[in-house]
Symmetry: D2
Subunit: 108 residues, 4 copies
């Protein structure tokens, strides 16, 4: 689905979800920045005690990978709600950052 | 740009960036989960001492918002690298999670 | 108890707990840094959607405060295990940092 | 110093520092929970791209270890300010949690 899905489609879905529940007052930039960090920690928890090989096995296992994908989705959903709340164009921000990264770390 | 940019376009750009620098060995799921959490904390740092009103002012200021967008981009870039590393379809994961959220929190 | 308990007493208890379970191989600085961040996020989760007043109410409620104290304990336990693993004198590090903070932010 | 320093001594120093600067209004439980998470991420940043061996070398190097000790101090200082703000007895919370951990994970 990544090949056909635009960021805007996902943003709109998240925005409608938040608005339909009248959660706009909670989905402030400060609370959403916290939420992104909380979900990032839940993703990290899967790898807390793993060495590199064990982490590879984890990701290769379909059941574990589904649970991990679910945590990654939570991070991204809050990122999109943050973008909605702060009116940030995510693709433009990512492309601009990648432009800078490419200059900062030239291919040798 | 969000309206026209697919997740796959951004994923591919991130993947080519990582591969061209031979960073695949560092961009493991464990290290990337840490990286997402680190960048999430940097985003949060902008709001550390703000009350809700001050956070609104921050996001409304163009210079501050550009800095905040930059941190959000870092979170998302590492999420996309994680998705590349763990072979996760981001849009599918987000849509599946939103399906579940909608059932879990019905509109009253 | 804080008045009579030294950091060393708590560090020793954590170290004996880890050694008795042969967890030394897992309690590496990298894994423990992740663990501190994960527990910090769980502490933060209590305040995710609160405004300042609601957060005050939360902390004033004995049941909630016990749950919050429990999360704070987790953060500190991992900090002490990290200090054991990396051979850091916590009190010296805190005092040195407070010395610098006092110079950096002089009382006006 | 850990052998002689009580938690209360460090708590009192942090409290006096905060009060002398009239920062009590900022050092709320919500803001301090964020601060703990932010400093935990800065500690984690030292180990972001390390494998287990490289992390061991890092901690063994005196200059690196001093920088790492400094980040650990920041986490602990905010934990102590949180304990001051929420009126939590840190030693009691840690001992109670260790009691439970010992029951939950019996030595085999």
């Amino acid at each position: 689905m990544d090949a056909e899905t635009t960021l805007q489609e996902l943003r709109t879905r998240v925005q409608q979800f938040v608005e339909a529940r009248h959660w706009d007052g909670f989905h402030t930039p400060k609370n959403l920045a916290m939420s992104i960090a909380i979900e990032a920690a839940e993703l990290m928890e899967h790898f807390q005690w793993c060495d590199v090989d064990a982490a590879g096995d984890l990701v290769a296992d379909p059941v574990q990978r589904a649970a991990i994908a679910d945590e990654l989705a939570d991070v991204i959903i809050y990122c999109l709600s943050f973008a909605n709340s702060a009116q940030i164009d995510v693709a433009a921000a990512v492309q601009a950052k990648m432009d800078r990264n490419e200059k900062r770390f030239p291919v040798s």
